[in-house]
């Protein structure tokens, strides 16, 4: 495997190679890893005996031994590993979970993929392919009882409309390091939504590129970090095609003395990417003193000929005036806090078009912030 020289951009990955030997071991001083607690992830940087993330096969989901996998999705998506953990998964995962939506197929029901590992560290190699003109919503439910180093390679073919929702919900003990690489075809739409609630460490790198003009990518995130949880979201959107759209919205609520979240939003607009629209937003709500939220948006423009390009980042304390206002209407302090936190996430959750799925996500978030009180109060009396 030869090393591919990455195109010159300050924000693009430096080394693209599926050979783990081409990637150095992260020490925490590298820009890419400077926020990550690498000392707690040393096994993610070493090869060794690992478990495998598996999924139950269904109409759209198959498990294929790695040696029989033709890598057509990787080729279509032009995906190559960009760091050591992803190269290790690519090289050593013995099997591939493939989710394939046939061309011109409109799938009404939600395709749920339960991804389970075994004890210890597992490799997860997922490939998603949405054929041309297809439409589907895929939910990846991550097993948060085991550690996972994973990759999700997604190819959204021309004019396909794909939603992928990843649920990182479960116990706050496991470590998850994932790399998503998504290629958006001509006039295609991709909506990627990460809901991060569980795990002790979640590190999610999402790279998006476009394979033709007119593509649209929305990357959304809703995350709740408390106690000792660490959550990191690194976005890289590479605009190299004209008239494409990217919209990145990540919202996080933090509580407890030691919670730490990181959001890095890198967007490159290359010379040929004229007429594009890009916007990225990260908002963090600190529910008390103590948690730390790092937020770094970067926008690199190589052409000024764009429709719009912008970013915003804000981290704020819970607004005591909102609390006073709600309490002055008889609402208890606990309920008032919950209302404000739920309201904070509405902007992201409203993007989930399927009503049942939206309710499920809201329920999971509410459970995490102890929201049951509101629903019981409001629905308890109704016939």
């Amino acid at each position: 495997m030869s090393t591919v020289q990455a195109p010159p951009s300050d924000l693009a990955p430096r080394i693209l190679s599926n050979d783990p030997g081409d990637h150095g071991t992260p020490h925490g001083r590298e820009e890419e890893w400077r926020f990550t607690p690498v000392a707690k992830l040393s096994d993610f940087f070493e090869s060794g005996q690992r478990g495998l993330v598996t999924a139950v096969e269904s109409e759209f989901v198959t498990m294929t031994p790695a040696e029989r996998n033709s890598s057509t999705v990787e080729k279509a998506a032009h995906w190559v590993a960009s760091d050591l953990p992803s190269a290790l998964v690519r090289t050593h995962a013995s099997s591939v979970v493939s989710v394939a939506i046939p061309a011109e197929r409109k799938v009404d029901e939600i395709v749920v993929v339960d991804l389970a590992g075994s004890e210890g560290l597992n490799y997860g190699r997922i490939e998603i392919c949405a054929g041309a003109f297809s439409k589907a919503t895929i939910v990846l439910r991550l097993d948060m009882t085991t550690d996972v180093s994973g990759i999700v390679v997604t190819d959204v073919a021309d004019q396909a409309d794909l939603t992928v929702l990843a649920l990182y919900d479960g116990p706050r003990t496991s470590r998850h390091v994932w790399q998503w690489g998504t290629t958006v075809g001509r006039d295609a739409s991709f909506l990627g939504l990460a809901i991060a609630l569980g795990g002790s460490i979640i590190r999610l790198r999402q790279n998006v590129r476009y394979a033709g003009p007119g593509g649209s990518a929305e990357l959304l995130g809703a995350f709740l970090a408390s106690d000792e949880q660490f959550q990191e979201f690194r976005i890289f959107v590479d605009h190299s095609e004209p008239h494409c759209v990217s919209n990145v919205v990540f919202k996080g609520a933090l509580s407890g003395a030691h919670a730490h979240t990181v959001w890095i939003g890198d967007v490159v607009v290359r010379r040929e990417a004229v007429g594009i629209e890009t916007y990225e937003l990260n908002r963090n709500l600190l529910l008390n003193d103590g948690p730390r939220a790092d937020s770094v948006p970067n926008l690199e423009l190589e052409t000024g000929d764009v429709v719009s390009a912008g970013h915003a980042s804000a981290t704020g304390r819970f607004d005591d005036e909102q609390l006073f206002y709600l309490q002055s209407r008889g609402i208890s302090e606990e309920l008032a806090r919950q209302l404000v936190v739920r309201g904070f996430f509405v902007e992201v959750l409203d993007k989930v078009k399927d009503a049942d799925l939206r309710r499920d996500v809201i329920r999971r978030i509410e459970e995490r912030i102890g929201m049951d009180a509101i629903e019981q109060q409001l629905t308890g009396v109704d016939a």
Partner: protein, 253 residues
Amino acid sequence: MSTLQITDLHASVVTDAGETAILKGVDLTVESGRTQAVMGPNGSGKSTLAYVIAGHPKYTVTQGSIVLDGEDVLDMSVDERARAGLFLAMQYPVEVPGVSVSNFLRTSATSIRGEAPKLRTWIAEMKEAMAGLQMDSTFAERNVNEGFSGGEKKRHEILQMSLLKPKIAILDETDSGLDVDALRVVSDGVNQFREDSGAGVLLITHYTRILRYITPDVVNVFAGGRIVETGGPKLAEVLEADGYERFADLSTA
């Protein structure tokens, strides 16, 4: 029949510059069926009085008492005060992003009434109250105070008051930022509420114009952190003609 009894109330605010006394001995009684106007110049502390009654954490009561029907209000949390029957229509209502007016109103009504109103009767109740304030029904789907005009914010406050049916309502500069038409709609709403509920009203205002629509029983002049003169509705007319100048000395006392 309810009585809100404020006796020798002193309150201060703590800032970086230290503790500043704002209320300096307020005595005032608000009773069911009666409207007390409190008028005063800017900075006299009249809005602080409203916030202290509602329990805003920014202010510390250093002396005196507030009692509602024999219950010590100062002992209650902000939400307990609301559930005990106090309501503050705020001068600057706060935006709550992502929380719809309809969800907010139902959650408040549930908290105040102790049980969730039945959905069907609640919708009817809300529609009627909104129609009375000439509010469009789409209003209920908007987020609380987000992007509201000045007039919409004040109508929303009065809407809450009419749905929550407090025993004693405090209106803090409800007339500020309203044009003549909006002032009339809001005043009609307040008058309707007074008539329907027989509640006591404490009307805090800088200008006399709202008193042309909402007739007070008593007019109090507030200056230097306390009430310095009390009279009938005619006192408002005197203030309108002469302004607050003759109370200027008391403001610095």
